[in-house]
């Protein structure tokens, strides 16, 4: 008897005009699992990620989150359900301070709209100050509490990534999806990020990582899905995936894969 998966991608298929970008991709993520999604350039990782996060709908196939079908639900419905994401190109709100950026992760918990807010005017102040405390704690977790009042321009790329993660964590997601979190980071920053993800994993956070950096993903993930040319070519533990002929072929070339065996 296995635990039901938290995310289930079933027969995902995406066509752009005449080009089949994603062909029949399926995988599952169990609660507490850290799943990696890798593949060479143009393998369809980003398209798959976009479909799971609701940025673009699949041509066919289904996406299930916690027993609910979310295939064609728009992007804004993901966060209240318990899915949070970060961005490869940092997309923080430039006009807001670091703390306010993290607070935006809590936005769906606030009353929605002017009248709803006015009706709950009494409790709003309390909610705001509690939210701020929580946001500060998240900034402490990523080690940026002393930057709370800084503008976004004052951050380095690595720091901005961490703020993005803190912002995603603010909504208390059950599934955290990270889009190439290590891209553009230096070694120290990448190690720091790896440690942080390890702590999150220890706390039981389920994660989906799209990544280029193979070293990073081999250390961070329990299981890895490998894609090539829009097709899933492997799905298993890092060790299994490393031995997979198709994976070696996709990454290094067919001949290397043959030589290995």
């Amino acid at each position: 008897m296995s635990v039901p998966p938290i995310l289930k991608v079933d027969g995902l298929y995406k066509r752009f005009g005449g080009l089949i970008a994603i062909n029949n991709v399926s995988f599952e993520i169990a609660p507490g699992e850290v799943k990696g999604l890798i593949g060479p350039n143009g393998a369809g990782k980003s398209t798959t990620f976009d479909m799971i996060t609701g940025v673009r709908p699949p041509t066919s196939g289904d996406i299930w989150f916690k027993a609910g079908r979310i295939t064609n639900q728009p992007a804004h419905t993901r966060s209240p359900l318990g899915m949070a994401r970060t961005f490869q190109i940092v997309r923080l709100f430039r006009g807001l301070s670091v703390l306010d950026n993290v607070l935006m992760g809590l936005q769906p918990k606030f009353p929605d709209g002017l009248f709803a807010s006015l009706a709950r005017l009494g409790s709003l102040r309390k909610q705001e100050s509690e939210s701020r405390d929580k946001a500060i704690q998240l900034l402490e977790f990523v080690g940026l509490a002393d930057r709370a009042g800084h503008p976004i321009e004052a951050l380095t790329l690595g720091q901005a990534r961490l703020v993005d993660i803190a912002r995603a964590l603010a909504s208390e997601p059950q599934l955290l999806m990270l889009d190439e979190p290590a891209a553009g980071l230096n070694d120290a920053e990448t190690r720091n990020l790896g440690n942080m993800l390890a702590i999150l994993k220890d706390r039981g956070m389920t994660m989906l990582l799209v990544e280029h950096d193979l070293d990073f993903i081999m250390k961070a993930c329990d299981t890895i899905v490998v894609m090539d040319h829009g097709v899933k070519i492997a799905d298993g533990s890092p060790a299994e995936v490393c031995r997979n002929r198709d994976v070696i072929a996709a990454y290094i070339g067919r001949r290397a894969a043959d030589a290995e065996h």
Partner: protein
């Protein structure tokens, strides 16, 4: 060793709002001349119009050059509901705001899909349509000469200038409080997030399209309130309410006052209403100087006069820093 006092989080206080309103309430007591009271009413009218635009463009980042159309529609609806349907002023007020809300909803649903320049041009087209109809549908709108707005009455008698002034001030106070509440609350944060990055806001669960539509409707209703203020002050509505010069005044006010600031619309309105009084000495140069003022502010004071005092959004940052310090203090105390 004395226990260090916790730094107070500088919650942006509502105090300045009350200061502005108190000054507003004192004006009729200080200035006896009807001319100055009329100018003060014009200041409040423009401030209300511009607060709506400030929320829409300064905070949510959605430009609408059609605000004068809603300004004019509000005034016309307020007058027509009284004249043609015989509604009482209070009911006509509610009715005209509801009417403008519906119109802006119908305009916003399709147009808010457009972005930046296209949105600007499309809303400008809407203003020209509204103005064209107001000018041409003479049987209904009275064409160029417009329609008369019934004077406000209290117990059967027309209320005097001071009474009208306090009515305008009351309407302006409601808008000012709403404007300030929105900016300081999580809703203001949400609007700024949409302005900065719609995709990221969406990923965080913000219903971007709905938010934009709501802000557009709210800002249009604020424009309509301004139109009604104009109507009860001047007792006449005509097509000049949605002419180009209103748009120019609006942009001048928000640019000089400071776009996306808390008090820019009020400060800008004071200046734009006072400026022509000072500029009358310049006679024919007035228009050119108006343009030069906008330009100088855009280039040298992009956050406007209000920005000099407020430092755009600085209070948000200060508050965040103070939050962090307080939390650090708490942690330190827990450890010791």
């Amino acid at each position: 060793m004395s226990k260090p006092t916790l730094p107070a989080a500088p919650t942006p206080t509502i105090l300045p709002v009350f200061v502005f309103l108190a000054i507003g309430a004192l004006i009729p007591l200080v200035l006896e001349s009807g001319f100055y009271i009329r100018l003060a009413m014009l200041v409040w009218t423009y401030a209300v119009l511009c607060m709506g635009f400030n929320l829409l463009y300064g905070f949510a980042g959605q430009i609408s050059l059609g605000q004068p159309a809603f300004y004019s529609l509000g005034a016309y609806a307020y007058a027509m509901l009284q004249i043609k349907l015989g509604w009482s002023p209070a009911v006509a007020l509610g009715g005209s705001l509801a009417f403008v809300a519906v119109v802006s909803l119908l305009i916003g649903l399709p147009l808010l899909r457009l972005r930046t320049h296209y949105l600007a041009m499309a809303t400008l087209a809407f203003m020209l349509v509204e103005n064209g109809v107001a000018n041409r549908w003479i049987d209904f709108t009275g064409g160029q000469s417009g329609v008369e707005v019934p004077a406000l009455k209290w117990a059967g008698e027309e209320i005097g200038r001071t009474g009208i002034y306090y009515t305008v001030l009351g309407l302006a106070a409601v808008v000012l409080l709403l404007h300030d509440f929105l900016i300081r609350s999580h809703l203001g944060r949400g609007m700024q997030a949409i302005r900065d990055d719609e995709t990221a806001a969406q990923a965080l669960g913000v219903r971007v399209d709905l938010y934009k539509l709501r802000v557009l409707v709210l800002s249009s209703v604020m424009a309509a309130i301004a139109g009604i203020c104009f109507g009860i002050t001047s007792l006449r509505v005509d097509p000049s309410l949605s002419e180009f010069h209103v748009l120019v005044s609006l942009l001048t006010i928000v640019v000089m006052g400071g776009l996306g600031t808390r008090f820019g619309p009020i400060i800008g309105s004071v200046i734009v209403v006072a400026l022509p009084q000072v500029l009358t000495g310049f006679g024919r140069f007035e228009t050119a100087i108006y343009g030069a003022c906008i330009l100088v502010f855009l280039i040298f004071l992009p956050h406007g006069l209000s920005g000099l005092v407020e430092r755009k959004f600085q209070w948000r940052a200060d508050r965040a820093t103070a939050d962090a310090k307080r939390r650090k203090q708490v942690l330190k105390e827990e450890v010791s």
